[in-house]
Amino acid sequence: MAQSATDAPPDGLEGFVADWSSDQRAFKNVPWGKAMMWIFLLSDTFIFSCFLLSYMTVRSSTKVDWPNTSEVFGLDVGGVSVPLLLIAIMTFILISSSGTMAMAVNAGYARKRKLTAALLVVTALLGASFVGMQAFEWTKLIHEGVRPWGNPMGAPQFGSSFFMITGFHGFHVSVGVLFLFIVAFKVARGDYDLGRKGFFTSRPGNYGIVESLGLYWHFVDLVWVFIFAFFYLW
């Protein structure tokens, strides 16, 4: 498992072939947890791709006009309707949480225990506020009569696409918030400094877990980039 410093694997394309044809492990320099997180995220990519694809299909095959998302998701601020205001705020919140998450990963590898835990908590709170705004948005639309089978603004497929895509994304954010709090607690307790054994794994964890969690969180932000572009702006 250990790679001695003298025979470091080659880089570039040569390294690609060498890594994949080696009989130990293909993903050198990557902890197994991180490799598995990447593979999970790849499968998740396909799930969200299918949602966005089915949205594309129903939207481009309907004869009825698609609702104007700019107006549907607009907010009244002092009597002036600002288009997509809530969605813009949600976008900035999610990007900020991605920033604090990146800092947390960095602090974790620098073994700054308290800073890591604090940044993870900040990330979780930003994520929670995102979910809160999404709940507000759902409530608003449901009050306006948007249902999975129809709505007063236009094509009936709008509702099913909206609830399915944003619902699945919101679920991902919610799970992420939960895990952020759990890992923040474990970091704060010093689990990864003391080598305390995990509840499920019965093995000591390390700060690599913060990076795997970070990958998941950035992925949630990444999916939002695509939802924002295709569903809200298109």
Binding site: N29, V30, W38, I39, T57, L84, N106, P204, H218, L233
Partner: protein, 118 residues
């Protein structure tokens, strides 16, 4: 077994400044894509701007925040190449939805059964 605290971690560390610069850029690009809607750009200009901002943001997140830029090619290719196949799926569904729309236009033109020739 080595203690977790003394174990060598195979993690990556990069200067904080890198993250801050990318963070700032993500804000700028998000503001840009929001402005596309705020300024009410339409047509090809709107779509190309949306896609450009989207790809730039996605690229920055994957490359820097998710550290893909610094990974070995064995991992990068395994993760980044398969999603490209989604584009094939997109092409298939474009044809499919075009066909569905065509049949709807032909047979449900006015929304009455008489008009559909029944």
């Amino acid at each position: 077994m080595a203690q977790a605290s003394t174990q060598k971690l195979e993690g990556q560390t990069h200067p904080i400044k890198t993250y801050l610069v990318v963070w700032l850029w993500l804000f700028v690009l998000s503001a840009g894509s929001y402005m596309v809607d705020y300024m009410q750009f339409q047509g090809y200009l709107r779509w190309s701007l949306i896609l450009t901002f989207m790809m730039l943001k996605a690229g920055l997140i994957v490359a820097v925040f998710m550290h893909m830029k610094w990974e070995r090619l064995a991992l990068s290719y395994a993760i980044l190449l398969p999603p490209l196949l989604v584009l094939v799926f997109v092409a298939i569904m474009v044809f499919e939805s075009d066909y569905t729309l065509l049949t709807r236009v032909l047979y449900f033109a006015t929304g009455t059964p008489e008009a559909a020739g029944e």
